[in-house]
Symmetry: D3
Subunit: 296 residues, 6 copies
């Protein structure tokens, strides 16, 4: 006889069946950041998760930042960092360091995916002219090479996915002169998901999700219609650091992304649990026309 | 916190990753018969398993017989059945009944697959002229409409798979005059797997696998090179009902099938366990050039 | 010298030229039933005709019923048949018999086409989920597994035609649970022709066409605009058994079929005569925008 | 009732069925010349025949000469014509006239085909560099712009056929300097058929076929293997004007053409009779591996 | 060291870069006529220019007339020519001569292009039924086989360009009966450019461009918006022989051609200078939405 | 009149015609290094040259190193560098710096190409698993993360070129564990050219070419067959720093590259001069079967 353990394994796989069917050929943008980029074990698991999404027929794209590596190298170069309105003032040398660090982080991820047997192609927002930017001003002040996204040319992403590559993107864009600019990784992920009309945008970061009561971890909401999210913003329930994130999400949903997920990247295999089991992780914000499905 | 149960689920999925990669786009012929066709629960599970294989990127083909239904309808029609050399003497009326029963069983399977959200196309060996046969003689005796496969035209199977259908095949072939003949389902599965150079041919039947000692269920061998199988045949270890099955397997492996599996269809989700976990089910017979992988 | 006989043959072929050009690559749905299914000589001729249509570049599809075979097997199984509003009450066993008989009739047609050197693929309305049905009620009464067509998914038909197969269809559909239902073959042919925006739908049955005077065989009308047909219905000229047939035709024409033909299947090679000579057979009902062409 | 006349028409069409299947997608090169180019009625019939071949799925190519038109225009221009070894000495002005006349004849054929609803493209051997030639010398004597074919680039023919055009070719080639040369139309047809590995090369000219006794019209041979033809040449049975034609045929058959037909273009619809009925016209010379089929 | 001469060569090539990029894959119709067809040196240069346009990725099409060759052959045939409203009265024999001469001129161009290593296909307006015409009447008078273009079927042009051929077209069209008609080459070029929505239509003829003062060669305008051209026509600045040409241009621009160029074909390599340097040749008439670029 | 200057420009373009035709669709690998990477003016010119090659229909690929930037950043990080056998000992931190610097240099090139209107995609040898390496040992000594190329998977390059991207590659490869290794850029260019069977491999570096007399700059050889190069090596004429370069070339030519060019990157637009004029730059080494073409 086959023992119980194996039958349970089979059940887990069968449980995944409707999700595999539902997301077949669908574009999933994963914003990868936070602890999941630093902790080696979590990192390994995130890569495994994305590789599995790709192998079962989804079309995932990773968008990543540089985590704390950029600051580490800026320090190493002996530079002092100034912040304006929460944004790093980015002079020529700083943008060079950012480019270098992000490029290296990118290829580490590429190598990790390749060793799991899936083709990866790491690109910046400059390749194929994907992310066109203009200089961002903070209260009218020039803070250097920090860019706002003006347009997204998705051709290179479509071409790579068509050829069966998993695209891994880092958020350096360029202006009309070909100068490189740093872009906020959350914004880049959101702009890319919007331009691709992605089925889902998943933010992996160090929050548990949206709380009804900021002080109460047990008050995390599992699913919200975009209108409900807007109402919570208006009513002041959503506030603090979560506020800009949610505003960003609301915009992306209105522009065509079907479903955005704010996930706790500190939970092992959170992507898998979210995609393949009935265990919802964090908070999903969805379009009115979608049915909430964790209540099923 | 996410509880332990979910982390274990994630582990099961991750464990499947190398198998999903290994069989990507590979043709898997599943000979479906025995208890798994009769027991409604087992039947549902086999369909789920094959649908999952399809959804994660394999290219499964089901070949099925009629189980005990043919005999039931022959009885219903008030016919007496004669057997020669273990084969049913098949007159005009009997072949008509066989065609009718197999056609109906086929569409039931089609309906089951369709309701799980995967496209299925049920065909006989006559569609597209797939299975060409000639009359089989037993010791020179004409036993009616029982056929030996002369050639396999795989065009219709390739076309259907190309268009993303799961082909479900029943073993009625035709001779040059267009007359229908019954074919042994094991032989049909083996001929189709050979013609397609399938990656794997899985026999789902009511045996646990090949035993070293026919009396000892614990003596099932998990993996054999084709040469080893030949030796066991020569040495008389393999005998009885298993003998023709194994001879059939040896031939198919020599003609290009990579791996043949004799599986116990009475075990729930045996296909899934075999394909996605490190639990080998039954006996695999493999080509010399393949590495045995359960020992890893 | 070549004798007169051969020159006349050449003339016949040349006469076919404009018709061959006109229907090039056009979809022709042939509803096959009545005497032409029973008489072996007529049957052979219909198959020849359809094969010729295929070979000269048309895209024919055969939709067939089971003729009197279903009743014969229901009787054989010792069942009594009840009719409600002209429709057979179809219990579980009856639908099984219908499926079996239709499946077998289908493969006989497949074999006949294949032996003429053309690829055929026989499918039911369940394959590829082509015909989705819901239970039909007669005056509120449940008459079992008899279905009304809810939707037609033409993917499997397009795929087969694309791969150069002649599709042969039998009218068993399925509901959302995957249960099989019998469908009226006329309705199935009409629904398929409509969904494919077929160039022509030809009904082969045992009527000479639409008569102005039901008692007078010489009053058969050769061509009618759909508006004229509607008027004849309103005026009560068309009545009796012809009435539902014509109503069905009117609907299909309004939904995109260009031309419907009610043909006498008892005439040898009626399809060929209709398609390739200036001899109109039976009654054509056409859209306003089409020109009547037998008057040319 | 349908009268007998129509049933006979149907029989003629059905008789064509095996031939339509046999030549499906096959390349047929028709050398068009002789009376069939001059007599308006015969011309109209040849065009109808080729158009029908195209419409039922064959891939015909017409290769034509200029008939007596070239001589007429040379006379008109007041030039005297010299012949060496049966070939016209072709000075600069003569080749210009040949080009002009052939070009015009070509477009007349194009117009005739187009008005029957089939796309035609008329090209010379210079278009796409199809026919590369070198100067032909007769007993060492330069006879001007008369060319021997050095190579055939079939790209333009394949491209046109692929796009569903009927190619109509006239035999002007060019040398490496781009100078135009006249080519014997029989040679051009044979070289093109060879380069395309055509299924059949049909010569339409004013002969009844190959005679066993040159004096006896009733001694026309209907079918010869290429070896038999060689033997007849060796034995001196084939002689006179037929000799170079047959030598040409023998070479083309050895180089890959399957079947060459010497047909009497004076018989109305000779192409149709040859292709679609069991009435063989003229003499077929075939490869050993082909079965003679008029004897069937 | 590399001497100055080579660095200047490199500069010329680099200067061409933005133009090569701008016209990549764009359709350019070149109406070829005037001195550039007669002078052998100019002819060679025009061919080189068009071949270069093709090789660097543009999609040029040549449309040509017969220059003075038609008159020369009409004279040769001893015919008198009558003109009505500036148009040659074209009887049956004249249209035949026109067809012959144009066909020959066409193949000369084909040969010239082929010897430069680019594939050319020479076609008339009858091939593929490209130019459909109806008889032109001058003040109600029938002047024979002179046609007005009724419709342009661009399929053959698209097919040839798709297969990498340079199409070379001569302006003989046909009416519904298949009769050939002469068409004004300027009108044919304009109709073809319009039907293809060409990026540019370049007229190579013996004028320097549009003059503000007809008497002053230095008053040539280099660039005009279509509205400006209309105003110059209204104000009577453009008059005489230039008037119909400009009216023709205005119409084509309104129907979708982006830019029309009236170029002096007597200048060596005028096409190259126009396309690849900042030296504008002759007069460009452009759509409002285009930016004038020689002023850059 | 058009002045002389413009006619000379046209001549330069016409002179380029045979070269544009010859290299149409051909793969050209450009190893970019030396002064041409440092001098901003030369850099701009190289980019212009490669962009022009791309626009006129060649398929160029840039392979670049990091020039002196890597050393600069290693110094900045306060590391001492040890060399063994001329190779930098590359510890973990050094390989990280190399990756970062090369990644940044790469994206600068991408930006430069993009601003000229051509799509560029910058990749490392790790993307798509293109360059697989194993650790290089110098006299048995482990010098860290310096790799020898084991295999080249050209899929990502073919995919990018197919989609009209100009690939820009930097020579970081990975071993089976996914660890990054530095590769000599000359070796990477040569391995890539070999794997792609490139038409030409052009080395842009600070040498004038191969000299017969190392002391005499005027003794540069313009063209050598590979056998002649081997002889010069044997005879000791080629020696010093040129020796390994030439050995590398000889190997690549034997493995399928058609033609290798050692060019002086200090000459402005050396690529253009080499490809589009009859001015040969540096030394070409070619296969026996190629004709030397500067002597034409």
């Amino acid at each position: 006889m086959v023992d119980q353990k194996y039958l349970e394994k089979a059940e887990v796989l069968i449980e995944a069946l409707p999700y595999i069917r539902r997301f077949h050929d669908k574009i999933i943008v994963v914003k990868y950041g936070g602890s999941a980029m630093i902790d080696e074990e979590l990192k390994r698991e995130v890569i495994q998760d994305v590789v599995l999404l790709k192998l079962v027929g989804f079309r995932p794209i990773i968008v990543h930042g540089g985590g704390k590596e950029i600051s580490r190298w800026v320090d190493k170069a002996g530079k002092e960092t100034e912040f304006v309105g929460g944004l790093r003032v980015t002079d020529k040398e700083t943008i060079e360091i950012a480019q270098m660090v992000l490029g290296k982080v990118n290829k580490d991820l590429v190598a990790n995916v390749q060793t799991l047997g899936v083709q990866a192609a790491g690109i910046s927002g400059m390749d194929g002219g994907m992310l066109k930017v203009e200089k961002k001003y903070v209260d009218g002040r020039d803070i250097g090479y920090v860019g706002d996204i003006k347009s997204v040319d998705t051709k290179i992403l479509h071409d790579l996915m068509e050829q069966d590559f998993l695209p891994i993107v880092y958020p350096i864009g360029m202006d009309d002169n070909g100068d490189a600019y740093n872009i906020n990784a959350d914004e880049a992920a959101s702009a890319i998901a919007t331009a691709l009309k992605a089925e889902k945008l998943a933010y992996l970061s160090d929050v548990e999700g949206v709380r009804l009561d900021p002080e109460d971890p047990s008050s995390v909401i599992s699913e919200l219609y975009v209108e409900e999210a807007e109402k919570l913003v208006e009513e002041g329930v959503i506030k603090g650091g979560m506020l800009p994130k949610i505003r960003n999400c609301i915009e992306a949903l209105k522009d065509g992304v079907s479903r955005i997920h704010i996930m706790d990247g500190r939970i092992p295999h959170s992507l898998l649990l979210e995609f393949f089991t009935n265990k919802g992780i964090g908070t999903a914000i969805i379009q009115e026309s979608e049915e909430k499905y964790w209540n099923e």
